[in-house]
Point group: C2
Chain length 330, copies 2
């Protein structure tokens, strides 16, 4: 999503609007992670290269601005959610045995797996400590709960690996937990700490959740289409990792009874040949269009959840983020 | 430490004194970790087998009783510190590639490394969420800070692996961070939530820290002596993992200038032959006695820090825990 945001000038408009606040959240992030131990400092310095467009602090600050005023709590929480996001990236790289992220070496490849696991824990615990510097326990509670749900979603995803009978409902629940939950809590925190009415806080949370769902479905579509346009040069990386996503779930569930055994066979044997055959089947089915429609459906939900807020630059930017999230692949 | 506690009847006396409160902390722990997802429930059920003598909730509750009355906050926090301890065990087993813990399969061997990393994260985040159910942010702050320090200590330990020039000061700092910090915060939380005077809260924290230091030095001695008594059958497991501990640090630092090159050579090549040679050198040096004296020195500090509390069953039990912690190997 971040690349699209950059390409379309949206990022520049967000920067123009809340650049100072984002910068302050950044400063807090960097200041907090200064460690007395030079070895830890080295890793901390290294992971600053992983930092992307800071989508989560951005959602938090824009939700704050759309429902009230940005204050010091929001900036601290912007640093907290970015720290949690970085922790999940560091642990994901261990799980995926990834060698590079954003063109630099991952912690596991530059150091080792032990260091990555412990460093992820270091970031998680630091984020919680920082959240507890706020006056009330509300932020700790919301962030503790949300990150716990993210972990549950990732555990479910690992568990369902290789399960070709994964249903659409189970898929949607997994992406709700592993992706949408953190977007939802960012928007909730933004609105809550702007002292917005409880109903508006709920709406902003729903906005974040729908945005997260749209984003993840679009991301999963990109994984399949990105490879398809390379004329079958490589398998969909999700499917290669035996992670079934919406297009393939839809393909199997709507196939003729007579075609199903063949599709099931292809799905259970990831290979170049299977991928070529499946790509053709996808092209001849409604699976891609259906998945795209599910993404745009969630995007429409997200926009509707913003309707309770007054027209403002912040709301407009939140709306634009939705469009890019759902349409990035088309 | 837990085995000694059991053998000497101390555990039974602790159970008799605070059994109901420990049981309530247990109930909270188990109730909190019920998951809606059956896959996660299975892992949760499995790790209940890892549970030992619950030293950390015990320290927290005894510190509470020694400085005031045990209340509902203490029981919640007892569950929190046990959950954090379990999270660190699950991640340690990934790092050590361990196959069993307490005679049952580790999460990484029963499931896989991905599941272990994510499940450890699940426990950490759940512990923070539970801590945030208290009224103030004090517990979140103390626990966030302490667990962050534990991670920093473990990172330093991984970094210093294979460094035969590790100094005694660096060794002491690492064990302070990775082991003593969590004991210290347990005792601090116990006293703080009993509304003890700030000076008493500080003393209880110092008690926990000194106890943790004594325990870790004794544990490291046990790793060397336990193997030595088996007439050199296996290497010290710490040293095999290239973790230098106090006896070997002392051996090198007090050796004659002429012996040092040989010791350095042996230390940098873990093997059965090196171990046999080092064992003989240890026996002919003051390294074992010196390490033992350091452990008993910290134990004496721990007892002194309890002097500000009135004589009570709780204080007596805290004193006995110190004795067993420091003397377990002798």
């Amino acid at each position: 999503m971040s690349e699209d945001i950059g390409r379309n000038g949206l990022l520049a408009r967000v920067e123009e609007f809340i650049g100072c606040d984002l910068h302050e959240a950044d400063e807090i992030y960097l200041r907090e992670l200064e460690s007395a131990h030079p070895y830890v400092s080295d890793i901390l310095k290294h992971v600053t290269h992983f930092r992307g467009k800071r989508l989560r602090p951005m959602l938090l600050l824009l939700s704050a601005a759309a429902t009230g005023d940005i204050n010091s709590n929001h900036k601290v929480l912007g640093a907290v959610v970015e720290m949690i996001h970085t922790a999940t990236l560091v642990h994901d790289d261990v799980l995926d045995e990834a060698a590079t992220r954003r063109h630099v070496a991952t912690v596991n490849s530059r150091w080792n797996n032990e260091t990555s696991v412990l460093f992820g824990d270091y970031l998680f615990t630091h984020a919680f400590h920082l959240a507890s510097s706020l006056e009330s326990t509300v932020a700790c509670r919301l962030i503790g709960r949300a990150t716990n749900i993210v972990c549950e979603g990732e555990l479910a995803q690992v568990h369902e690996r290789g399960n070709i009978d994964l249903t659409e409902d189970s898929y949607l629940k997994i992406i709700d937990y592993k992706t949408a939950e953190l977007c939802a809590v960012c928007c909730r925190l933004g609105a809550y700490f702007s002292n917005a009415d409880p109903a508006i806080v709920e709406s902003l949370e729903s906005y974040g959740r729908s945005l997260g769902m749209a984003f993840q479905i679009a991301d999963d579509l990109l994984d399949i289409l990105g490879n398809e346009t390379e004329t079958g040069k490589s398998l969909g990386t999700d499917w290669e990792k035996q992670k079934l996503t919406l297009p393939l779930i839809r393909l199997l569930s709507t196939a003729d009874e007579s075609e199903r055994p063949r599709i099931r066979e292809l799905l259970s044997q990831p290979s170049q040949e299977s991928w070529t055959a499946l790509s053709e089947m996808l092209a001849g089915s409604d699976a891609i269009e259906y998945s795209y429609n599910r993404a745009t459906g969630f995007a429409a939900d997200a926009l509707r959840h913003l309707e309770c807020t007054p027209m403002s630059t912040a709301r407009q930017l939140l709306e634009e983020i939705v469009e890019f999230a759902a349409q990035r692949t088309f």
